[in-house]
Symmetry: C2
């Protein structure tokens, strides 16, 4: 029998963490005048960058299906990224309907910069704590993967492997 009090405690801390982190991020990109860089990596333009950093040179259609977006949304995000010089568009030579999207070097950097660095708030943890945290997060993630796979197996399939691949790349 798990202890409800302990669960609530942890849940509260987690909410607090999200809240405080959100504020810290806000302050950061407020003072750093990050003009528009407040995209989550997991939405819209960020998603595209992430997918490309795993497999460069996808077509818009590929991106759309992989990311569960409409072709139009995908086009919108890609165009925005082109304007920011983070990706390039070029017509495929083999199939001239297709547009191949590629990361620029700036794009690749942008996709990995925030993710590849160890945040400050982890640096105060001891080795033991880091191990504990990793183990706990692994369990939590598995839990969430389960939720996703039962709720929506097709998303899960598109999702799980690419995520873990991506993370392996970043952190090795």
């Amino acid at each position: 029998m798990p202890n409800l009090i302990k669960q609530k405690n942890a849940a509260g801390k987690l909410i607090e963490f999200n809240m405080v982190k959100h504020t810290a991020d806000e302050i950061y990109h407020r003072t750093h005048a990050d003009k528009g860089e407040h995209q989550s990596l997991f939405q819209g333009q960020g998603k595209i960058l992430l997918a490309l950093s795993q497999t460069d040179g996808l077509s818009q259609k590929d991106l759309a299906t992989q990311l569960s977006l409409t072709a139009q949304s995908t086009a919108e995000f890609v165009n925005k990224l082109v304007k920011k010089h983070l990706v390039t568009k070029e017509k495929s030579t083999t199939d001239r309907r297709k547009t191949v999207i590629r990361l620029t070097s700036a794009g690749r950097k942008s996709a990995t910069k925030e993710s590849a660095k160890v945040p400050e708030y982890l640096k105060n943890l001891t080795d033991t704590e880091l191990d504990q945290l990793s183990a706990i997060l692994t369990k939590m993630n598995d839990s969430l993967y389960n939720e996703i796979s039962t709720a929506n197996p097709s998303w899960y399939d598109k999702f799980h492997d690419s995520i873990t691949d991506r993370l392996r790349d970043w952190f090795l």
Copy 2:
């Protein structure tokens, strides 16, 4: 000397957690047709709800200063919440310039519903793990509070106490 590998490991797991959680949330409010309920609690309308759930009956001005928003943004969010029947607006009787904002019962429920319940992914953790997680998150949060207070002391002041108050209320 903290172990960089361990840090990166934990950092990766954390990113993975955010990513997976984001997807799980998306699936959830996609299947539950939650029309617009995908607000972070820490932004815009969510912020307002949260502030009111701590201190009901604030004026728009009070909300604005407390949340570091302009009066106009605040008004916008409040109006949207009124449309959703989550808050009510009424002219103050003592100072007829002021508008007093109050949570409806639906509003109060909405402000606490997601937060007060223990997420599934915590329920598979053992008591020991829960304790470890709480301890680790406490350290991480302190780290972030520090960041905030050095970067922007005034935000910190508005922030810290009300947060901890809020969390105490939810979880007791």
